[in-house]
């Protein structure tokens, strides 16, 4: 009652009139002050971030920042002789003032600075819409430009090998855009609830950055991606984008031909050509030491040991894919496998399911290449026990079996096994990267610029 009386007294003494305002679709109260329309800080806070800092008001919204000095002389504040800062420009216009100790801001100055439409009693903000996506190709990076009717908040994150940019409250047509770029050949726009999500695959070894450019009458979200952009993601995520494949061919003497190395080389060549990072633990004349090999095994995302079965007196033959069972040789692996997996924990230590999936894929690919492979389990193999992710032993055949020896002497057989190995590993790692998208979503850890 007292405040109403005070307001009335203030209004009577200061040429103030109470009016109704349509503020971005909602009816609120405003005041007319010496012929200019003002809205209180409380009312505007529904739409904008308004902060008072001494004798200055800072208004942030729709990608714009406005600085308005507070002039306690109400009449002078409503004149156009005040200097206000709209983003980076200092212009003359009406400024903020105090009415009965409450902060009021001029709607025409706000509309000018925020790119909104204003007429007496009506303050309209353009609805955020995606007007188009354009691209530009570069030497070492490609650029995607999203034209928006006004600025919106966005969040970018790398999920597996896919960059996802979620633009809050944006409307637009869901469609796929293709570019002529070598690094970002396509991007997809999808609606997700009230938001719009733009996603594109990030090539291995590439980085990306997202930033906004706010202009009068609209805003742009610019995305640069490619090897020319430095990677700023945590090293752990490299396990998804740049997984390490380690092939460990055992040295088997007395067969004439180094078949394990032959198959490993064929698979490594195919995988390297496809952009995967592959390391083979030995060459024909040299081999890594045990410690060096184990260091590599511990860093691996896929570890494949290649061996030939040897045992006196057996007539056993055929290809066998072994999965390791039992405890791992590393404490962290056992601890993480036994406990609750933290977010991104699967990137540190994969469960036994990874080896099982890879084994199934490998046997499937071998079958496709005309090689029937059995599935078996093995325990206490040093290298397989040290591998934190998917690890298998592939027995290419048995040296004591005449049919196996004959098979391993043919180019077609070795090529079929090399191709099956490469294809199964590539399929497994691609699927793992896609699964990591859900993993990232669960963890919900945005990276890079978010505002």
């Amino acid at each position: 009652m007292l405040s109403a009386l005070l307001l009335c007294a203030g209004i009577a003494g200061a040429q103030v009139a109470l009016t109704r305002l349509n503020l971005a679709g909602s009816q609120v109260q405003s005041i007319g002050l010496y012929g200019a329309e003002y809205a209180s800080r409380e009312v505007l806070s529904r739409l904008l971030k308004v902060e008072q800092d001494g004798s200055l008001v800072r208004v942030e919204g729709y990608g714009h920042t406005l600085l308005l000095p507070i002039d306690e002389d109400q009449q002078r504040a409503t004149t156009a002789f005040n200097t206000v800062q709209l983003d980076t420009q200092r212009v003359t216009g009406r400024t903020a003032t105090l009415v009965n100790g409450n902060l009021y801001l001029p709607l025409d100055t706000l509309a000018r600075g925020l790119g909104a439409t204003y007429e007496l009693g009506n303050f309209r903000v353009t609805s955020p819409t995606l007007q188009g996506v354009s691209s530009r190709t570069g030497k070492d990076s490609d650029r995607l430009v999203l034209d928006l009717t006004r600025d919106v908040e966005f969040k970018d994150e790398l999920r597996g090998t896919t960059v996802q940019i979620t633009l809050s409250g944006l409307k637009g047509e869901a469609r796929r855009y293709t570019t002529r770029g070598a690094f970002v050949p396509a991007a997809e726009v999808k609606a997700q609830g009230n938001d719009l999500v733009l996603s594109f695959p990030l090539p291995p070894g590439s980085g990306y950055r997202v930033y906004r450019v706010v202009r009068t009458g609209g805003a742009r979200v610019v995305i640069d991606a490619g090897p020319g952009i430095p990677r700023n993601t945590v090293a752990l995520l490299d396990r998804i984008s740049r997984p390490l494949i380690v092939l460990d061919p055992a040295r088997v003497e007395g067969l004439g031909r180094d078949v394990t190395l032959d198959v490993a080389r064929r698979a490594a060549e195919l995988l390297s050509k496809a952009g995967w990072q592959v390391k083979v633990t030995r060459e024909s004349g040299s081999a890594m030491g045990l410690n060096e090999k184990l260091t590599l095994v511990r860093q691996s995302d896929v570890f494949l040991a290649l061996d030939l079965g040897r045992f006196p007196g057996t007539g056993r033959g055929g290809v066998t894919v072994y999965e390791q069972t039992g405890r791992a040789g590393t404490q962290i692996v056992n601890t993480l496998r036994a406990g609750t997996t933290p977010p991104y924990g699967a990137l540190v230590v994969g469960g036994p399911g990874g080896s099982r999936r890879l084994s199934e894929l490998l046997r499937g690919e071998l079958r496709g290449g005309g090689v029937t492979a059995k599935q078996d389990s093995v325990s206490r193999l040093l290298t397989l026990g040290e591998a934190p992710q998917a690890a298998l032993l592939l027995e290419l055949g048995w040296t004591g079996n005449a049919a196996d020896r004959a098979n391993l002497g043919t180019e077609a057989r070795l090529q079929a096994m090399g191709v099956a190995l490469a294809r199964s590993v590539a399929t497994y790692l691609t699927a793992r990267a896609n699964n990591a998208s859900q993993l990232g979503a669960a963890a919900s850890t945005p990276q890079g610029a978010t505002q």
Partner: protein, 183 residues
């Protein structure tokens, strides 16, 4: 009369007795000791004991148990374990099972400390060059043979030394029954 009396005085008699005693004592100590009789050789009783010994199946996939009779003089765990490994090294008797080491290969030595077995593999085992699956069968057949009746685990040494691996297999920790469970 007085001469005789003087001759057999108390002093002379005692002295004479002492001389006789000394002579007899001298004779006694100079006498060579009697030869002891050689102990009679008694052959220890060797008893037949049945033990379970594991070999490889024909496919080098699973372990096959054979019940074999070994002869031991003492029925303690150490003697039984060593006897079992000795018969393990000689190979299987049942057809269809495969010997894990070539004929004539020395059997490993086994020692027991509480519930833990320590098996010292001769250096020739390093040059057997089996594949990964074969090496597992080699070590698991020994492990299963030893842990059949008692014990917790088996630690493998190579030529008396601690080693990390035998071929592709991890020897850094002791082998347990779980490590060698049927596939």
């Amino acid at each position: 009369m007085s001469v005789i009396k003087r001759l057999f005085s108390l002093f002379n008699v005692v002295t004479l007795l002492l001389l006789v005693a000394a002579y007899m004592a001298y004779q006694m100590v100079q006498k060579p000791p009697a030869k002891p009789d050689a102990p009679k050789l008694q052959l220890a009783q060797r008893r037949d004991v049945k033990v379970k010994v594991y070999y490889s199946d024909a496919q080098v996939q699973n372990l096959k148990a054979e019940t074999r009779t070994v002869q031991v003089t003492q029925e303690n765990p150490g003697a039984l374990a060593q006897a079992a490994l000795n018969v393990w090294a000689t190979g299987p008797s049942a057809s269809g099972n495969l010997a894990v080491v070539p004929k004539g290969t020395a059997a490993p030595k086994v020692y027991i400390r509480g519930a833990h077995y320590f098996v010292d593999l001769p250096s020739t085992y390093q040059s057997l060059k089996y594949g990964s699956s074969g090496e597992r069968v080699l070590l698991c057949s020994l492990t299963r043979t030893l842990l059949e009746t008692r014990g917790e685990d088996v630690t493998f040494l190579l030529n008396g030394q601690d080693v990390d691996t035998l071929g592709h297999l991890d020897l850094r920790e002791a082998f347990t029954r779980q490590d060698c469970a049927d596939q």
